[in-house]
């Protein structure tokens, strides 16, 4: 950048210009705070549309900041062409040098806002972390796990990691509950009890199909591997439903005197077995 261009660049930032830029940035920030408040209020009034309403904010935020930036450059600073070209060159160089982490995450955040891989409220598995997406910032994504931890994942990592999305924008999601049961139980009765137990749980979304399958497996001894697939009313109740259905199946089998031997339960939505409970 030669001395003339530098002088032109410095001349652009008068006191008034700087105040206008500051005013624009504050106005944009306030507008975003207002939009967030409106969205949160709407979500509180209509939790049923929690996911749909929440997903609008990340897109609006990127769009508003882009518009504010354009307004600042074109409307307030209004630089001559030579400064634009010089600045673009410098910016390109800066991006090239600093694109290691922060810029990479920022670019990833913008790409995710334009073409989202998941939405706020979705239950996703990112690497070893499984939880609800609670925030989609420009550089990071925050997950709320069932252990009540907040996991912050850089957006660049999300772009290069396979993501498993359990509900994809809907409030209900499929939960799979696995139980290993003794082979002494008649298969037809086992399936019938499993389906009825799932229908008994108040967490189950009955509008969608419930299935139960039984396969024989060998784990030190022969077992029936029962898999119940049912939809939960709200993704946040996933663990509660898995536990409830598993316990109802075991209780129903005990009530009907059909259980002899060990029971292993492990809803596969969970990372670890729910419980390993020997039945005498």
């Amino acid at each position: 950048m030669d001395t003339d261009v530098l002088q032109q660049f410095i001349d652009l930032f008068s006191y008034t210009t700087l105040m206008s830029i500051l005013g624009t940035l504050i106005a944009t920030w306030l507008l975003l705070v207002g939009i967030r408040w409106v969205i949160n209020t709407l979500v509180n009034y209509n939790p049923k549309y929690r996911i749909q309403l929440s997903q609008t904010f990340p897109v609006l935020r990127v769009a508003l900041w882009l518009m504010a930036t354009l307004y600042i450059v074109i409307g307030i600073i209004h630089p001559p062409e030579s400064v634009i070209y010089a600045s673009l060159g410098s910016l390109g160089l800066a991006l090239g040098l600093a694109s290691q982490d922060a810029i990479r995450n920022l670019v990833a955040g913008i790409m995710m806002a334009i073409s989202p891989r998941f939405k706020i409220g979705d239950m996703v598995q990112v690497g070893e972390h499984y939880g609800e997406v609670i925030s989609l910032d420009l550089s990071t994504t925050k997950l709320h796990t069932f252990d009540d931890n907040i996991i912050t994942v850089p957006n660049a990592d999300i772009l290069k990691t396979p993501i498993s999305n359990a509900n994809n924008g809907e409030l209900n999601e499929l939960v799979v509950i696995d139980l290993d049961l003794p082979v002494s139980i008649p298969v037809a009765k086992l399936k019938s009890v499993a389906l009825s137990a799932a229908k008994c749980s108040h967490y189950v979304f009955l509008k969608k199909t419930i299935t139960a399958t039984v396969f024989p497996i060998f784990k030190q001894d022969f077992y029936y591997h029962l898999t119940i697939k049912a939809y939960v009313l709200d993704v946040r109740l996933e663990k509660a439903m898995a536990t409830d259905v598993a316990e109802r199946v075991i209780e129903a089998l005990q009530d009907k005197a059909l259980l002899e031997g060990s029971v292993f339960t492990s809803p596969i939505a969970l990372e670890h077995p729910l419980q390993i409970k020997p039945i005498s």
Binding site: Y45, K48, L171, F205, L206, D244
Partner: protein
């Protein structure tokens, strides 16, 4: 010089009142709604007015069903059945939409046509196959004995052709392992006798949905009809009819025969009632004052029902309300079975909801500890539960 601070405060208060009105000033508490008919104000009202606005079962005064297509639907099904078609039909609607009234009117029509019919109104939850067979045998006057399912179907098919009407199907809903047996038994009986008898089943909307989602109940019926809530104009006409019945000539100085045409307070009440007649009746009585002229009254603009107590309920309490609205009513024992908590906890939850004015305890029923939604606020509660995703 005017005090700027005072002026600003005044402007802010006006703006706030306009855009963010204080809920306490513009809403009526949930427990006030549910306890209105025991309040001193209600008891002090004119006897004629009270009898006209009693929030009981919809009687001959509210003969909206005559104007509606619902009756025609039942008569169409009946004609099809008479012409030899294999017909069975179901009707469902929100609590307080006049299902029982509709069935009574249908039976009157059947009497006129000298058609034999049996009207069975379920009064307790059916828990197993024998419960279903016994209650049907008793109401259909089939020889009392211990029937197996096949034997009962044979006995039923020996009867002369008749219309079998079953009301209150919410007593079929249950969240127990054996619920499927009850539905399967009833389904088997209906399907095996459908050609001979005309089955008409009626129930509350949320119960009906639960039966359809959980047990494909809709497959039993060749014809189904949803009875919608009262429309604004129906509620308006009904309220005007009630005012007229109560002997009032003018409301807010508007002659009663012009209430339907103008922007009257009755129109406003009809709009805010959201299809619930009982709420309309409450709005009328809660906001009226007697006029200075004889047979005249004034009605102030009604206040919205404040659902704030519902927002403070815990998750298990909201699930409890959802289950009560699908089961029709729940006893402490049933609640304990569904939620797998102790009997004392169940009792505490149900009593808390009753104290808040959301539930009624049905003392007169055989199951003395059955709790159900208060009719006057059931529509408000159900809408809230749907918006909160506890009902669907």
């Amino acid at each position: 010089m005017p005090n700027i601070r005072e002026w600003l405060t005044d402007q802010w208060q006006q703006t706030k009142q306009r855009w963010l009105p204080d809920k306490e000033d513009n809403s009526v508490a949930l427990d006030q709604v549910s306890r209105f008919y025991q309040s001193d104000f209600y008891l002090s009202l004119d006897a004629g007015l009270k009898s006209a606005f009693y929030d009981g079962q919809l009687g001959g005064l509210d003969s909206r069903v005559i104007e509606r297509k619902d009756m025609e639907f039942l008569l169409d099904c009946y004609r099809l059945w008479q012409s030899g078609r294999n017909v069975s039909c179901g009707i469902y609607g929100e609590k307080g939409t006049g299902l029982s009234t509709l069935l009574n009117m249908f039976t009157n029509q059947l009497k006129h046509q000298e058609q034999s019919f049996k009207l069975l109104s379920l009064e307790k939850r059916l828990c197993n196959e024998q419960d279903v067979i016994n209650i049907l045998a008793r109401s259909l006057a089939i020889e009392p004995k211990e029937y197996k399912l096949d034997e009962f179907i044979d006995a039923l098919n020996q009867l002369p052709a008749c219309v079998i009407i079953v009301d209150n199907v919410h007593f079929l809903v249950q969240r127990t392992i054996d619920a499927q047996i009850v539905i399967d038994t009833l389904s088997a009986i209906i399907l095996a006798s459908r050609g001979l008898h005309l089955w008409v089943l009626a129930g509350e909307e949320q119960s009906w949905r639960r039966l359809c989602y959980g047990y494909q109940f809709e497959k039993l019926f060749s014809h189904q009809q949803h009875i919608p809530n009262f429309s604004e104009s129906q509620i308006r006409d009904l309220l005007i009819k009630r005012f007229s019945y109560g002997g009032f000539n003018t409301i807010n100085d508007i002659p009663i025969d012009k209430l339907a045409d103008e922007k009257s307070p009755v129109n406003n009440i009809a709009k805010r009632s959201k299809g619930c007649v009982e709420l309309g009746l409450f709005y009328c009585l809660n906001n009226l004052t007697y006029g200075t002229k004889p047979q005249s009254i004034f009605i102030m603009p009604p206040q919205e029902v404040d659902v704030a107590p519902l927002k403070k309920l815990t998750q298990v309490e909201l699930f409890t309300l959802a289950e009560i609205s699908t089961h029709g009513q729940l006893s402490v024992k049933e609640h304990h079975t569904i939620f797998r908590i102790s009997l004392n906890e169940s009792k505490m939850i149900l009593e808390h909801l009753r104290v808040l004015g959301i539930l009624d305890k049905n003392e007169e029923m055989s199951s003395s500890d059955a709790y159900s939604l208060k009719l006057i606020i059931s529509a408000v509660v159900i809408r809230y539960l749907i918006s909160m995703n506890y009902l669907y």
